[in-house]
């Protein structure tokens, strides 16, 4: 018996789900026109369409040229987007994943896309470990990392990937791969250094019409497998090296789709009624405290810290009103709001509310008072409390945040200061474990499992090889048990219950202090193009940068007004 996930009549079903592209409108959709977009700020374009090249290739080659197998729709987890695979089966023992591939897809040189290409791509990752084939991690006996044991072709359009250890989440990573055409790439001797200047792919935009250091123009695949798509003729990627230049051009309507940091949303949108933006909540930002030493090893101290921080001011002023408040002290925020169990979490809400008086009372009760008479509180054993919260210089909103948090803490008698080293020095210092507190991002994944695993896996907690997410170094074995159970089921309700337990364990222990969710930058212009994701119709995540496979679906909905 297999648990089968089948999405029938896939694309039509999705299209109706998104109001902008309702079937009735389809008749009037205009064909043609160009879309100008900025996927990455660069000083000069360099020709490289290798989809697994992290420095250059991924920004233009992925999603527009190379297509993935399966896109988990983070905005609507119940409506995933099938691409080159039409469905997948997870074996009942969770030890293999079978992908059923789409028939009738052709590579842009006319060759047919088949299971051989997928098998080839998976095996390529084994042959060249330094070549970062996304999502494809072979089991490595020495390190214990990775999980793929073997790959086999079951039919012309069916591939099974066998796993070393049972894992119900494996289909997510594997579905994210971009299959490569075997007949081209089998002759590539050194894939990581291959620049793939004339790509052969299955995607909607594949003809490189123009390439200069200041602009790339890629035009439609005439034989695209989705009839009548793409609606647009060409994508234009102009070169911009800085936010100011890119925003000045966007404000004048010369760029249709971009995702650069805004600090002044008003001046951008007042330039034209067509200048739109939507900043959805992304990954959560937390304070990571070094819980191996005093005072951070004291739960009462961490509680007081959390209550001393004025999060309304953080969101409104320090981060220019662009971030989203985090509701519960669980290390993750609105990005995963569909996973909340609001009933169980309500009792922890007080930890997120600004209440310096209560915070001071907690400290007094815990014996954290000014013992040596210097005006600052000291540990109960009399040793002074005096620490730094570090943030790289130049990360303006985070520097503001850390400065405000320090002031909030000083208000309740804690001697905390902001510390702003150079970005690279900051990075080098983290793994040593020699620090007090850091402000830190979290990883955004399809499901919260990855985010929590990165934060709590004890193998990442060993200085001097401490990982960024596990800097707090608080070992919570009971939490890891729930996370391990999570990988052994594909039942969503069961998964939600498990994450609910994880939430409570985090809220009870406060290994990190939750602050706010960073914005996902998304600006667009309705001057010439329509069909955009909007706050009212959020059919997929709207960002244009790499790492958002949903942009494949998004770009196929866009058309001329």
């Amino acid at each position: 018996m297999k648990k089968t996930v089948l999405v029938s009549c896939l694309l039509a079903g999705l299209a109706t789900s998104s109001a902008v592209v309702a079937q009735s409108e389809k008749a009037q959709i205009k064909q043609g026109g160009d879309l100008t977009l900025i996927t990455k700020l660069v000083d000069a374009h360099v020709r490289n369409f290798n989809p697994y090249n992290d420095a250059v290739g991924q920004y233009y080659a992925r999603d527009f040229m190379y297509e993935t197998l399966w896109i988990p729709n983070i905005m609507h987890p119940d409506k995933p987007i099938p691409v080159l695979a039409t469905s997948y089966d997870v074996a009942k023992d969770l030890k293999s994943v079978t992908f059923n591939l789409r028939e009738g897809v052709k590579w842009s040189d006319g060759e047919e896309f088949t299971a051989d290409d997928v098998v080839f791509t998976v095996e390529l990752a084994k042959k060249f470990p330094a070549y970062n084939v996304q999502g494809v991690l072979w089991y490595d006996e020495t390190s214990g990392e990775g999980n793929i044991a073997s790959v086999e072709k079951l039919g012309k359009y069916q591939v099974r990937i066998n796993l070393q250890k049972p894992n119900g989440l494996a289909y997510l990573g594997l579905g994210a791969m971009y299959p490569l055409p075997e007949h081209i790439w089998k002759d590539v001797k050194d894939p990581k250094n291959f620049r793939n200047e004339n790509p052969v792919a299955t995607g909607p935009f594949i003809n490189v019409k123009r390439f200069t250091p200041s602009i790339i123009k890629v035009c439609r695949n005439e034989n695209y497998w989705q009839q009548g798509k793409p609606y647009l003729d060409c994508l234009k990627f102009p070169q911009y090296s800085g936010n100011e230049q890119a925003l000045a051009a966007a404000a004048k309507g010369r760029v249709d789709w971009l995702g650069v940091g805004l600090s002044d949303t008003k001046s951008y949108s007042k330039k034209s009624k067509d200048n739109k933006f939507w900043l959805s909540p992304g990954g959560n930002t937390n304070l990571q405290l070094n819980t191996t030493k005093a005072p951070f090893n004291n739960l009462e101290f961490r509680k007081a810290m959390s209550m001393a921080i004025n999060r309304t001011d953080l969101v409104e002023f320090a981060t220019f009103g662009l971030t989203t408040a985090t509701k519960y002290p669980i290390g993750t925020g609105e990005f995963y709001k569909s996973w909340y169990n609001e009933e169980n979490l309500a009792k922890y809400k007080y930890l997120m509310e600004y209440n310096p008086k209560a915070a001071m009372k907690i400290l007094d009760d815990a014996g954290i008072k000014d013992i040596d008479g210097d005006g600052w509180r000291d540990n109960a054993d009399g040793t002074p409390i005096n620490f730094k919260i570090s943030v790289p210089s130049g990360w303006t909103d985070w520097v503001n945040s850390v400065m405000q948090i320090s002031e909030n803490l000083q208000d309740i008698g804690i001697n905390a200061r902001a510390h702003t080293p150079d970005e690279n020095a900051w990075f080098d210092a983290v793994p040593t474990g020699d620090f007090d507190a850091y402000i830190m991002w979290t990883h955004s994944n399809v499901v919260p499992w990855g985010t929590y695993n990165d934060m709590f896996n004890p193998k990442d907690m060993n200085p001097p090889k401490l990982s960024f997410q596990a800097m707090h170094q608080m070992r919570l074995p009971e939490l890891m048990v729930e996370l391990d159970k999570f990988t052994q089921t594909i039942d969503l309700d069961e998964q939600k219950a498990l994450i609910g337990k994880v939430h409570e364990i985090v809220a009870e222990n406060l290994p990190v202090i939750s602050l706010f969710a960073n914005p996902e930058w998304y600006e667009y212009s309705t001057r010439n193009i329509t069909g955009w994701v909007t706050e009212e119709n959020p059919y997929v995540r709207p960002m244009v940068h790499g790492g958002t496979p949903e942009r494949w679906f998004h770009v196929l909905q866009l058309h001329q007004k």
């Binding site: 000083d43 000069a44 360099v46 020709r47 490289n48 090249n53 992290d54 420095a55 250059v56 470990p129 330094a130 070549y131 970062n132 996304q134 991690l137 990392e145 990581k192 250094n193 620049r195 200069t212 250091p213 200041s214 602009i215 102009p238 070169q239 911009y240 090296s241 800085g242 100011e244 230049q245 000045a248 051009a249 004048k252 990954g283 790289p392 150079d422 970005e423 690279n424 020095a425 900051w426 990075f427 080098d428 991002w441 979290t442 990883h443 955004s444 990165d454 990982s467 960073n518 940068h545 790492g547």
Partner: protein
Amino acid sequence: MKFLLTRLGFYLSAFWVAITLNFFLPRWMPGDPATHLFVSLKGKMSPEALEAIKKAYGFDGSLWDQYLAYLGKIFSGDFGISTTNFPAPVSETLFYAAGWTLFLVGISIAICFVLGMMLGVKSAWRQGRFFDTFFTPFNVMLYAFTQPVVCLLLFYGFCIELEWFPLGRAHDPALDPGFTFEFIGNVAYHAVIPLLSLVVIGVGSWHLGMRNTMINLLNQDFITMARAKGLSQRRVMYRYAARNAILPQITSLALTFGYVLGGSFIAEYVFNYPGLGKFTLAAIQSRDYAFIQSQLLLVTVCVLVANIISDLLNLWLDPRLRYAGA
């Protein structure tokens, strides 16, 4: 001859010291290219991808081995692989940017020099009169303006508000580079505001330098004699005074040209001009060792060549040097 040999020996050792520093300085900075990429993505890259990238960039062997390989590569003209544009060779973007920097900064220095000389001569000649009392302090004031202020004001005024000039770039991306009237015109149009911003800042120091040297000269006996001979004002001003006053200016011009390839980071950044300054700053931020050391190498070579030329000129102009110690 001995003078020439000692100078040559000096240049060779200076070159060696410079290229050695070029190699070690970027590597002494904290961080490395792979971790920079990871940090800059703020959580959008998985730790597994970071490991793969570290493997891909693969700096083989110890620092010493890398240093020897680097020395070998310098003499074979191989600039190495860029990590920001991995795996493109550094030379691809380096020479593209060097061309535009030579154009922009080179022309701005030429304009500053000519304009500065003319203003300097005139204000020295009319010392204390209106031209001098107005333009000299005015130019010194402009010189004291910082470049970001001037660039941003010009960018905001002429490019964003008035829309007389384009927002940036070296030319319209729709045009193909070539020796056509249209392309050259377009390049000139795009260069106006960046050039203006560089000239506004740069002209003051040349003006002041020339004026001061010239004023010293005007008190010398040979000028008095030239005047006494009844030569025309013009002839005294240009043929006697200015000609002599310009000599030290030419030496410093040679040195300034040595730094052309340092680029002009601020103007290039504000106007999105594809020059070396901007590329180098980006390379430093992302710890692209190969690019940083190649750009430093270009500057080193240029400064040394400019020095050699000025030495040779001195040798030719000043016979005392030729016979010294012979």
